[in-house]
Amino acid sequence: MKHAESPPSHDPRRGSPPAVTPAFSRRELLRRAGGGMGLLGMALAAPADASESARGPHFAPRVKRVIHLFMNGGPFQGDFFDPKPAINRYAGQRPAEVQLRTENPTGGLLAVPTPYRPRGRSGLEISDLLPHLGEFADDLCVLRSLYTDNPNHGPALFQMNNGTITPTRPSMGSWMLYGLGSENENLPGYVVLCPGRPVRFAELWTSSFLPGEFQGTYVNHSKLEPRQMIPFLNARASSPEAQRRQLDLLQELERPPDGSPSEPAFEARLKAMETAFRMQFAASNAFDLALEPAAIREEYGTGHFANGCLLARRLCERGVRFVQVYYGNGQPWDTHSNHNEATPKLALDIDRPMAALLRDLKRRGLLDDTLVVWGGEFGRTPTTEGSNGRDHNHFGFAMWLAGAGVRGGMAYGASDDFGFRAAVDRVHVHDLHATLLHLMGLDHERLTFRYAGRDFRLTDVSGNVVRPILA
């Protein structure tokens, strides 16, 4: 599937010179759109070749693109997807099974206030905190036995995003882009939406030692004006026509006068320049939520996360390979205190948008080749930190996948009786990464890059594809 935004047509012969504006927006272009002639010299449908550096898949992919809904801070698995009646039964007590060391000392078990119920035909148990998402129980593949290596945010964020606890490796989105290239050259192939900043920053979407073209493009969508989201998207030229004329001049000056072929590197840069020109319209369009019908906006609801989910759908629709939606600024899920007060609010904020995203993707047939991934960098303790909080928990946590290539309506793996530690069919983050790459047609052991004398992988020297969840 290839996507290209056609630039708006405009007849430069019409009317008076365009007003000098500091920038031109999509609306302005639409307003100006006139006669049948395209902007001078511009190809209407942009070629969207896959990046030359991309490796291509190792086998037929089930998933073409991924949306990662990232609950930065770390949600508690027991609140949503991993019912553990024993927590409430032994609330306040500290059985031997929960004598595990996390970041802070914790005390007895802290009861989980909201009940679960079986949902869908599958009967998958989902908390009443997420009634809308519950409607999609038969699409969800819940992983209940994840674990990671370190109970600190920084290392765990790196583990989840870059595959190791140290910030020196390419991010998983970079690996995906490196492996598969982009589906739409008019947009960045890897977009990170965060309304603010997570506690670790650009190293979470770095291409590190992979070529720079594979890095994630960070977009702060707390302001919804597309021109403020992407660096340098805000046009400097007085009008698109003037900029088009400049590019035409550039092309003419760059053409060797004797008709000889120009240097491939020169050609490549000019081609990238043309793509950048088109990107101004394509990206302005892609990031403009004002173009969505009111009914759709309504369906997703309001707030940064809802906007992020809707933007993710728009980007995914246009072939962006990997979109990450951070829940919020900082680490909003990091409920060291007042856990049971904060959690329902957070749940309320994500429930509708997640459901709307799945519904919308389904409706458009996109869920057939898109995978949605939900989760944090780790989980939280079933035991109490302070009087009413929950501490970080790297021993066990839950995530879910939905969409292409995975079985719906199932829970894989199990945690111990109190949901503290992954116990059965344990899934390390390396295994999750191996599985995601596998779904994208990439063998995690063969997706390598030679650096500092060895072949590096997203999964380091580990990782097993979790085959039982594959559809």
Binding site: P155, G212, P231, R245, L249, Q280, R454, N464
Partner: protein, 772 residues
């Protein structure tokens, strides 16, 4: 049924490969934590399957019969009394691997082990055999073949290159035009383009030594150190702003400026490096050179959450050592020694013992702020700084209390004021209190120890170095034997020198330039060559090991490296030696047949166009607009700040949050050693060209400059633009096309705006992003 040696002598290569690829990692991951050398639960060790696969209760594997093998029974979780691992059943895929392995007869590699090597973890390497690799061979002058050598004044470099060209039947490209040569020399040596007047003067200079004088002049320029300093800073992952927890009041740029000045002064490369590793341990180093310690002082630092267990923190510390060893070995020795942290190097003769012999040096090296003062004064100043900080913190707290407690406010404020006054007194009363404070290191041995049941503490023993235990599989929780600090055995004929003084950094520096001199010289010569020609004699500049590329011209590399040492490790000598060659002065036009025969230009029969790094490109734009602020040295400034017209070298580099321009244009990630930059061409870069205010502002400035310098004649302005930007005359069709464009734009814009639009296009040209 006994099973003393499951390693059937007939284990086939594919079986062993299966074991190494599938089974050993699985055992290491899943079992060795409890069944290893440190803890061997039930007397069973699975870290050395080459030995006996048996525990106290007998053999755990019956080759060929999974159902009869206790190991398989345990992982299947079918017998409630025998379930392993205790934390939970393995994924089915892993169980299947173990079953498959037992079914194949439980093949394992033949037992290996070098006497003296660490138990079970380091099979040891054979340094004598390893030394046969070309990069570890002794260095000597290599005379070029044939008569070409005897031509008086002929460059030995050319003679070597020509020999290979003749052999390949390639006629090299002709000498480049003078205007091309001067531009090449400027970008290569100082990173900014020549002015039109400088170009003109050089083109007209018919003296035979014109080129030599040009090279000498540029080497003497203070901008030389800025250009080559940046190349160095890439290698050592320099940043102005380290991780938040590593930030101190020290100023990182003191190190950057030290590098620039040292290169300008042509400090011999051995001294240049030694001071960076061990300024504090070497005798007679003036205090200002302590700034050189930034190489290690600005090392990446990873967060150590002291609420976690000591083993977790030790892992973080071990990761830091790995990065530092990676940088030191990669940048200086062209070796990937960090690969030997968890196992002997897979390809190179570097053992785990070698790795931990180096890691001990870093285990005795602490990152600290250092005033650029003599030790006594430094100590006094640091003490005073500490006192002042404490007083200021107290004062702040008192002021806070005063804001909350109205009753006692007056008294609290008075006490706060007293504290501040005392702090001022100390500042005034301490000579050199505001002396420059640099990111440096000192000798202090780190121990990671428990601090009660719930915390961990870092203990530093000042002034002493330490030998550390090898960490089996790179796991600090599995310590092996203590490894004395010392140099890489493959580079040390005989017994590797031991590092015993202080942290061992001085010993390390000496070994690098004694035992490691040949390799070190080859690596640096290759780096300089690569920057001049766009391609190295070895195209893997930080990997001269067995997996690296072999040199295109081994004799030339050795000859140049040997003479580099003879020339006292002078980098400026090396530049002269390279730039005086015919090869360096060739044009980029080459007949198709030659390109077909040597498409990568391995034989250096021509010069290839090179993309300018982001620094040179941005600096060239500043130079063209006439706004370049060429002040050398000083504090960094945000690149995105309006009106920042300083050279790009001085743009603020945050380790973990690069400026957009740097990030888009292939600036190396300063979280680790960068062997070389690899330019990419992306649409997001071109958005910067199309839309950044930087290009807009400097296009307007360039348009203004053209009007001022060339008057009202449009043709004169265009011609001036070409001279300023590209150092050449504009072609008639270019002049015509540009004038037409300005005329057309003038219909919709004021003349200045029309000229600015033209300037934007000219600044976007490929010619400004490449050097011929």
């Amino acid at each position: 049924m006994g099973l003393a040696a499951p390693a059937a002598p007939t284990a086939s290569t594919s079986d062993v490969a299966f074991f190494e690829a599938r089974v050993r990692p699985l055992l290491l991951n899943r079992c060795v934590g409890c069944h290893g050398s440190k803890i061997a639960q039930g007397g069973l060790r699975l870290d050395r399957p080459e030995g006996a696969l048996r525990g106290d209760a007998g053999p755990v594997v019956v080759p060929g019969t999974p159902d009869a093998s206790p190991l398989v029974t345990a992982v299947r979780y079918t017998n409630p009394r025998l379930q392993m691992p205790p934390a939970g059943r393995l994924p089915q895929a892993e169980i299947a691997i173990l079953e498959d392995w037992v079914r194949r007869g439980a093949p394992v590699p033949a037992p290996a082990g070098t006497p003296g090597s660490a138990k079970g973890a380091s099979r040891g390497v054979d340094p004598a055999a390893g030394r046969l690799h070309w990069a570890f061979q002794p260095l000597r002058r290599m005379d070029p073949p044939g008569r070409t050598l005897r031509t008086p004044g002929r460059s030995r470099v050319d003679a070597h290159l020509d020999a290979a060209l003749v052999k390949a039947g390639i006629t090299p490209a002709a000498r480049a035009e003078r205007r091309v040569l001067i531009r090449r020399a400027y970008f290569d040596l100082v990173g900014i383009p020549p002015t039109p007047e400088e170009v003109e003067a050089f083109v007209r200079d018919s003296a035979p030594d014109a080129w030599q004088r040009l090279v000498d002049r540029l080497l003497a320029s203070s901008h030389y150190g800025e250009r080559w300093g940046r190349h160095w800073l890439d290698l050592v992952r320099y940043c102005d702003v380290p991780e938040s927890w590593a930030q101190t009041e020290a100023q990182a740029w003191l190190y950057r400026d030290w590098v620039v000045q040292a290169l300008n002064a042509d400090v011999p490369y051995d001294r240049f490096v030694s001071v960076q590793l061990a300024a504090d341990e070497l005798p007679g180093v003036p205090p200002k050179d302590l700034a050189a310690l930034g190489l290690l002082g600005l090392s990446p630092s990873y967060w150590k959450e002291l609420k976690l267990a000591p083993d977790v923190i030790k892992t973080v510390v071990a990761e830091e050592w790995e990065e530092r060893i990676g940088t030191i070995s990669g940048a200086l020795l062209g070796l990937t020694a960090a690969c030997a942290r968890c196992h002997d190097h897979k390809f190179d003769p570097i053992s785990m013992r070698d790795y931990y012999a180096l890691a001990g040096v870093l285990a005795g090296t602490r990152l600290v702020p250092r005033p650029l003062l003599e030790p006594e004064s430094a100590k006094r100043v640091l003490g005073a700084i500490e006192q002042v900080r404490a007083l200021e913190a107290d004062a702040k707290k008192l002021q806070g209390d005063a804001a909350r407690d109205k009753m006692r406010a007056e008294d609290l404020r008075r006490r706060a004021a007293e504290k501040l006054a005392r702090a001022e007194e100390i500042k005034k009363g301490t000579p050199d209190f505001s002396a420059p404070l640099a990111y440096g290191v000192e000798t202090a041995s780190l121990a990671v120890v428990p601090d009660g049941p719930d915390r961990t503490r870092l203990e530093h023993r000042a002034g002493v170095g330490q030998d550390i235990p090898l960490q089996l599989r790179g796991n600090p929780a599995s310590p092996g034997p203590v490894v004395p600090r010392g140099f890489l055995s493959v580079l040390s004929p005989g017994t590797p020198p031991r590092f015993t003084r202080g942290s061992g950094r001085r010993d390390l520096a000496e070994a690098i330039f004694r035992e490691g001199a040949a390799l070190t010289a080859r690596v640096m010569v290759n780096r300089v060559w690569r920057h001049h020609f766009g391609r190295g004699l070895v195209e893997t500049p930080s990997n001269f090991g067995l997996q690296g590329e072999r040199p295109s011209h081994p004799e030339l590399l050795d000859d140049l490296a040997a003479r580099f040492i003879e020339a006292g490790w002078s980098l400026k000598w090396l530049h002269r030696e390279v730039m005086r060659t015919d090869a360096y002065q060739r044009g980029d036009r080459a007949p198709a047949a030659m390109v077909a025969r040597d498409p990568d230009n391995r034989l250096v029969g021509r010069m290839v166009r090179r993309r300018l790094e982001v620094e040179a490109w941005r600096d060239a734009i500043l130079a063209a607009s006439g706004r370049l602020d060429s002040q050398v040295g000083g504090a960094p400034e945000e690149l995105s700040a309006a009106g920042n017209n300083r050279r790009t070298l001085y743009g603020l580099v945050r380790r973990r949050d690069l400026d957009d321009l740097l990030r888009l244009y292939d600036f190396p990630d300063p979280t680790g050693h960068s062997p070389a930059r690899f330019p990419t061409t992306t649409p997001l870069q071109q958005l910067y060209v199309l839309n950044s205010s930087f290009l807009g502002q400097h296009a307007a400035a360039l348009a203004g400059r053209l009007a001022k310098e060339a008057g009202d004649d449009p043709g004169a302005r265009v011609r001036r633009a070409y001279l300023v930007l590209f150092g050449r005359e504009a072609q008639p069709h270019e002049v015509r096309t540009c004038i037409e464009f300005v005329g057309q734009e003038s219909r919709s814009a004021k003349p200045e705006e029309a000229w600015t639009r033209l300037a934007e296009v000219l600044l976007a040209r490929n010619e400004l992003a490449y050097v011929e």
